[in-house]
């Protein structure tokens, strides 16, 4: 047994003890009025200092209040996760890339157009870095993959403001990057940018994301009453709509 209480000039207790509590700790004394001594209480009864102001512990009781409030309904907000370079899971397909848009299409127009398919989290129209001209490209981030899927299904190759637009699911915006580069470096104009397979396969370095075709969803529930028995797998959009892995 180590010399508790014997370090600073106090005698180590001569009786057998089992537990102690430090009643006065000079290190915790806020005012530091005078160098106070450590005072220990052993087994609830004996004190290391003979002073009548220290009284032994009375009967032990449960200090807790027995009656606690009923389980309140917990409403915990669901966080939105940001996918950064350390993410190693499957990327949910929530982002849609639009190409060949009419240059009068602005963020609000796009948002309204997409809103009927699902809640839109972010909308961005891409402009030329120097001339600030409309590139006919946009990125729309939905809060759910369903919204993204529906949008592509319904808007791809439809006429919007007189232009036949191209809508596709785009993992990490890779397609969009390709189009952006092609238009900005002058190879193509906003209405002629190749949205077929050629532009993709030219510069694609065979990223792993291109072969993703299924997505497994995880379920976590703590407040709802009914439970699923396991994980659910969501398939990709139907054959007619393009995905970023089309070649």
């Amino acid at each position: 047994m180590d010399q508790e209480g014997g370090g600073d000039g106090q005698k180590a207790p001569s009786f057998q003890w089992r537990n102690y509590k430090l009643i006065v700790d000079p290190a915790l004394d806020p005012a530091l009025r005078r160098p106070s001594q450590k005072v220990y209480r052993y087994d609830g009864v004996h004190f290391s200092v003979n002073d009548s102001k220290y009284i032994p512990v009375e009967d032990l009781q449960d200090p807790r209040c027995h009656v606690r409030s009923k389980n309140r309904d917990f409403s915990l907000p669901v966080p939105k996760f940001k996918l950064d370079e350390f993410y190693i899971g499957q990327i949910p397909l929530k982002e849609v890339t639009f190409a060949r848009l009419n240059d009068n299409v602005r963020e609000t127009f796009l948002k309204d157009m997409c809103r009927k398919y699902g809640e839109v989290e972010e909308v961005e129209i891409l402009l030329h870095p120097r001339t600030r001209k409309h590139l006919g490209l946009a990125r729309v981030l939905f809060t759910s993959t369903r919204g993204a899927k529906e949008t592509v299904k319904n808007l791809h190759l439809t006429s919007v403001m007189g232009n036949i637009i191209h809508a596709q699911l785009d993992i990490k915006g890779q397609q969009r990057m390709k189009y952006y580069e092609l238009i900005v470096n002058g190879s193509y104009t906003p209405q002629t940018v190749p949205t077929g397979g050629k532009a993709l396969s030219e510069k694609f370095q065979g990223s792993g994301a291109a072969t993703e075709t299924t997505e497994s969803r995880r379920r976590s529930s703590s407040d709802t009453a009914a439970y699923p028995s396991g994980t659910a797998v969501v398939g990709t959009p139907g054959n007619g709509t393009p995905c970023s892995q089309d070649t």
Partner: protein, 259 residues
């Protein structure tokens, strides 16, 4: 991950955040058994808490103030205050302890020798526990942890075997025993409550998470996070609807609605 800090000389075993921003206390697993108080921001030690003579196996921060308790294989539980290097309290027990504060910070529970749960009042713990609950002793496994539910009504005892027990925090009665998950290698798996204290979850060695309803005792879900190894850590976020599980990879979970 923001940064990685190294503690190569002393090793790191159990880590707990304190109430101050960016500081932790952790137990060492090399050289000595001192508990260290580290500032994550400047990677400097603020204080050392020496005293244990064997490995620290339990570490718990008080939910309400700057005290923490540590349980060690030297069969003692020590109470500390972050602001002082002096040990605030010491208890000798009959065997290996696991310990935890209750959510109000009034008492702490100590699981002793994998067969008894003792409840101590923070004002009078040196006199002894105010309640002792004797449990069924199981020679096949050991208790590895003790947790209170957020409402303070239940205590969850985790083991290195393939079952966990839920007991009433006031009377010590075993409410449920949850099993049915795999743990053949006696790995220390962490079991957790959800913040509303209604569900209990544990990760098994095959990477799946089992969830039970605490009141009925019925298993409600088996979640597959595609973990490649035993899930040694599992904790629910107290503020958001998400939880994290970790084997050698860390997964964050979100509730999803059918898309």
């Amino acid at each position: 991950p923001k940064r990685t800090l190294y503690s190569k000389k002393y090793g790191v075993d159990l880590i707990r955040y304190t109430h101050a921003a960016n500081t932790v206390v952790y137990s060492s697993n090399k050289i000595d058994d001192t508990i260290r108080y580290l500032s994550l921001h400047d990677n400097k030690y603020i204080r050392y808490f020496p005293g244990h003579s064997k490995r620290v196996v339990a570490l718990s921060m008080s939910p309400v103030d700057d005290t923490f308790i540590s349980g060690s294989l030297d069969k003692t539980i020590r109470l500390w205050d972050l602001r002082s290097p002096n040990c605030q309290g010491l208890m000798h027990l009959q065997g290996k302890p696991v310990c935890s504060f209750d959510p109000e910070g009034l008492i702490f529970a100590a699981g002793v020798n994998s067969e008894m749960v003792k409840l101590y009042d923070l004002r009078s713990f040196d006199k002894g526990p105010f309640a002792t609950f004797k449990m069924q002793y199981d020679r096949t496994c050991e208790w590895t942890g003790l947790k209170f539910s957020n409402d303070g009504k239940l205590i969850l005892i985790s083991t290195n075997g393939s079952f966990i027990r839920l007991i009433d925090a006031f009377k010590g009665v075993v409410m449920h025993t949850f099993g049915g998950y795999a743990n053949s290698k006696a790995v220390t798996l962490e079991a957790s409550f959800t913040p509303d204290s209604q569900f209990i979850m544990i990760g098994s060695e095959d990477g799946k998470i089992h969830v039970w309803n605490g009141e009925s005792g019925i298993k409600v879900a088996v979640l597959d996070g595609k973990h490649t190894g035993p899930i040694t850590c599992l904790q629910f976020n107290p503020k958001f609807m998400t939880f994290a599980s970790a084997c050698s990879n860390m997964a964050f979970w979100l509730p999803t609605i059918d898309d």
